[in-house]
């Protein structure tokens, strides 16, 4: 493995990527804050949550090359942790009477719930991952999908603990932007730190050349498991914050819809690039928002121009196809955003290749 000094220089050479991405997120936050519009503020909160989800997904999918359909299950685990730990005990008693007593009495702030959600999801990622990470390719993808379906069925039917398919309400709603911004930035930095760590390097080596990596002593299931647990933690924390953004959880919030939205954002952005993960969200979300404004109608002079309802979904699909036609590896491919320097060939997100 790389000697210590060299690794530090990897960190220094690549730190510009998370810094630029964080600056982009801050810019979005400032625009929302300056606009003063509460619906727009909520939209940007949604964007930050999606950044967290897609970055969480990237930590595993991007580094391991294994597509996971199951990560939203971790968001579900985290979301319900938020419900279990932040709803007022009296309301919990009515909707979820089967909770153990200590949990019933617990009432913690949102950030602690996000941490707890992350930890709970990470624990289950460890349990599931210990089995699933031995699989590779399409078998692994299908197994992660099975995990999603499993978590969803349990949460949709465990009446006394998750209130089954009913909405669990009473989660304190958090409408300020800043906690979400901080969480999204933390997720970006966590993903960056992981991808330049020796474990991240090992996993990317295993992604590109599994045989050679294994021959060099990389324990592939273990390397994958580490990524799986970290990404599970990020998804769990994101799921908890998502619950705080709308004030309720249901199992189907965290199911196929969110799975495919986050996956397509990652694919469009560029699956093996952290910048791609963040940009995929920012670009697609901005596009969705612009189309929604057009659907709602904008006034040009005296006439109102409006697209027919439902065009947003169609246009989004067309744009995604177009992006993937011209850039099959996504908008960013496997490049990262960096400061323009003299060393044009530098690929900071792929330090394995620059070493």
């Amino acid at each position: 493995m790389a000697p210590r000094t060299q690794r530090r220089s990897v960190a220094l050479r690549t730190i510009s990527t998370p810094l630029i991405l964080a600056a982009l997120l801050v810019a979005f936050a400032l625009v929302a804050w300056a606009s003063g519009s509460r619906p727009f503020n909520q939209t940007v909160i949604d964007i930050f949550l999606q950044v967290i989800f897609v970055v969480g997904l990237y930590v595993f999918v991007g580094n391991s090359g294994v597509i996971s359909f199951g990560h939203i299950a971790f968001a579900c685990l985290g979301g319900y942790v938020a419900a279990w730990t932040t709803i007022k005990p009296m309301m919990k008693g009515i909707s979820m009477p089967g909770l153990p007593d200590w949990l019933m009495q617990l009432e913690i702030p949102f950030w602690a719930a996000a941490l707890a959600g992350g930890a709970f999801a990470a624990f289950w990622a460890l349990v599931f991952g210990a089995v699933l990470m031995r699989l590779s390719g399409i078998a692994a993808s299908i197994a992660t999908f099975a995990m999603l379906a499993m978590v969803n069925s349990i949460y949709s039917n465990w009446e006394s603990v998750t209130a089954a398919t009913s909405s669990v309400v009473g989660i304190p709603i958090l409408r300020v932007l800043w906690p979400y911004l901080v969480a999204a930035i933390l997720a970006v930095f966590a993903a960056w730190a992981y991808s330049i760590s020796r474990h991240g390097l090992a996993l990317r080596a295993a992604r590109d050349e599994p045989t050679a990596a294994a021959a060099s002593g990389i324990d592939i299931p273990r390397a994958r498991l580490i990524a799986f647990v970290i990404s599970g933690a990020i998804m769990g924390a994101g799921g908890a914050l998502y619950a705080h953004s709308i004030g309720l959880v249901t199992p189907d919030t965290y199911y196929l819809g969110l799975t495919f939205t986050t996956l397509s954002m990652l694919v469009v952005g560029g699956m093996s690039s952290l910048s791609g993960a963040v940009l995929g969200v920012l670009i697609l979300s901005s596009l969705i928002q612009a189309l929604r404004w057009l659907e709602a109608g904008i006034d040009i002079g005296t006439t109102t121009f409006a697209l027919p309802g439902g065009v947003q979904e169609i246009a989004l699909g067309v744009v995604m196809i177009a992006i993937l036609m011209f850039r099959p590896a996504g908008i960013m491919g496997n490049k990262e955003l960096t400061w323009p320097t003299g060393r044009g060939n530098d690929k900071p997100g792929e330090p394995g290749e620059t070493n």
């Binding site: 519009s37 509460r38 619906p39 009515i94 709603i173 409408r175 709308i246 819809g257």
Partner: protein
């Protein structure tokens, strides 16, 4: 310079809207204009618009014309929260939210945290109100358990049904609510017995196993309480009848409408509680007049009774505003809570500080005979269902 003025004008507009200008009365609809909930929200919203137009024609509310703002929830919970914020920022005094509790709750919670009244268009869960949103939230429809209780008591009293079979589709809260009401009523009916019960899932293609158990009973039950909803209801009903089970089938309001009857030709002995009749035979001529008005406004007859709660909603809210002399939330809520058997086009409505929903209501009973639905009776359960029983 012109642009500066325009920007200034626009910002004052926004500013005043955000602070809920007292010169305007605004109804904000944070409902689904797209997605599957649209099928439920749109008719009720159209009915609400008819009532708003009537009030405006008659001189408005507190001397002001009611204005309307809309935001689409896209049948999505996260979008619902945004839609709620949109209409509140546009100056809404009341936030009207989706029919279903799960989909309406995010917008209703937004209204609640902004200190505004929220009204579910036609949610029938007790959670759509104080219990699941907060003290300023109401529902315009009637609780699902009232439907189950109404059918059980009516069948017992008027059809002399004594043996009941309970068949529950566990898909939604609404379905469970109907059966909860039935469970509450049945023990109160002397010598009525539950001869069996079973569950299925809305998406089940076949309920053959459940049917076998009904057929296995020593005697066909007098009535089957079928707690289900569309789309699975049609298949379940069809299978029951195809298996030669001719017991009367009691339902919730969710199966109202004639649009699906062609799928079960010559259906008979089939009973549904409705708040008003879409079949042109409502005992109240004004309902029929409303149907005509609805057809004029939208180009079609109401397709189910879930159109009507939208009208009731604006009706009771406007009355409360008129009595309070303001649109201020606390005053209007207080006036709404004073309503005791307040007459509306679709039966009396009562709100209390404990329950912002109907735990007793007059229902018309629609019988489908040889494939033709029509009103045959009306029934009000003898006593309101206690809130404690509703909270189970």
């Amino acid at each position: 310079m012109k642009r500066v003025i325009a920007v200034l004008a626009a910002s004052t507009c926004l500013g005043s809207a955000a602070f809920g200008d007292d010169d305007r009365i605004v109804v904000g609809f944070a409902t689904a204009e797209t997605g599957f909930m649209q099928a439920y929200d749109k008719p009720a919203q159209d009915a609400a618009m008819i009532r708003i137009a009537e009030i405006n024609e008659a001189g408005g509310l507190l001397g002001k014309q009611i204005e309307v703002v809309n935001a689409d929830t896209k049948t999505d919970r996260a979008e619902g929260a945004k839609a709620g914020l949109s209409v509140i920022d546009a100056g809404a005094d009341i936030v009207v939210v989706s029919c279903d509790y799960d989909f309406g709750a995010p917008a209703a919670l937004t209204a609640e945290s902004s200190g505004l009244i929220s009204f579910f268009l036609c949610a029938e869960s007790i959670k759509a109100g104080i219990q699941g949103v907060g003290p300023n939230s109401f529902s315009a429809s009637v609780l699902a358990p009232v439907q189950g209780a109404t059918m059980a008591q009516w069948a017992y009293e008027k059809k002399e049904a004594r043996s009941f079979y309970r068949l529950l589709d566990t898909w939604t809260e609404y379905n469970k609510g109907i059966c909860d009401g039935f469970d509450y009523m049945l023990p109160q009916l002397a010598d009525a017995t539950l001869v069996g019960e079973d569950t299925f899932l809305n998406e089940d293609a076949s309920i053959a196993a459940q049917i076998t158990r009904i057929k296995g009973l020593p005697e066909e039950p007098d009535a089957i309480m079928l707690c289900t909803m569309m789309p699975g209801a049609v298949s379940a009903i069809k299978q029951l009848r195809a298996a030669g089970i001719n017991s009367m089938i009691l339902n919730g309001s969710g199966v109202d409408g004639s649009y699906w009857l062609s799928a079960v030709p010559d259906l008979s002995n089939f009973y549904t509680p409705v708040q008003g009749s879409i079949y042109g035979d409502d005992p109240n001529a004004e309902v029929t007049a409303f149907n005509a008005k609805f057809k004029e406004a939208t180009g079609g007859d109401p397709s189910t009774q879930y159109t009507y709660p939208g009208y009731v909603m604006i009706d009771v809210w406007a009355k409360a505003v008129e009595r309070a002399g303001t649109t201020e939330t606390a005053a209007v809520v207080a006036e709404l809570e004073k309503m005791n058997a307040e007459p509306t086009l679709f039966g009396p409505r009562t709100f209390t500080s404990e329950l912002h929903h109907q735990n007793q209501a007059r229902y018309l009973i629609v019988e489908t005979n040889a494939g033709k639905p029509g009103v045959v009776d009306e029934w009000t359960i003898s006593a309101p269902i206690p809130v404690a029983d509703l909270m189970k």
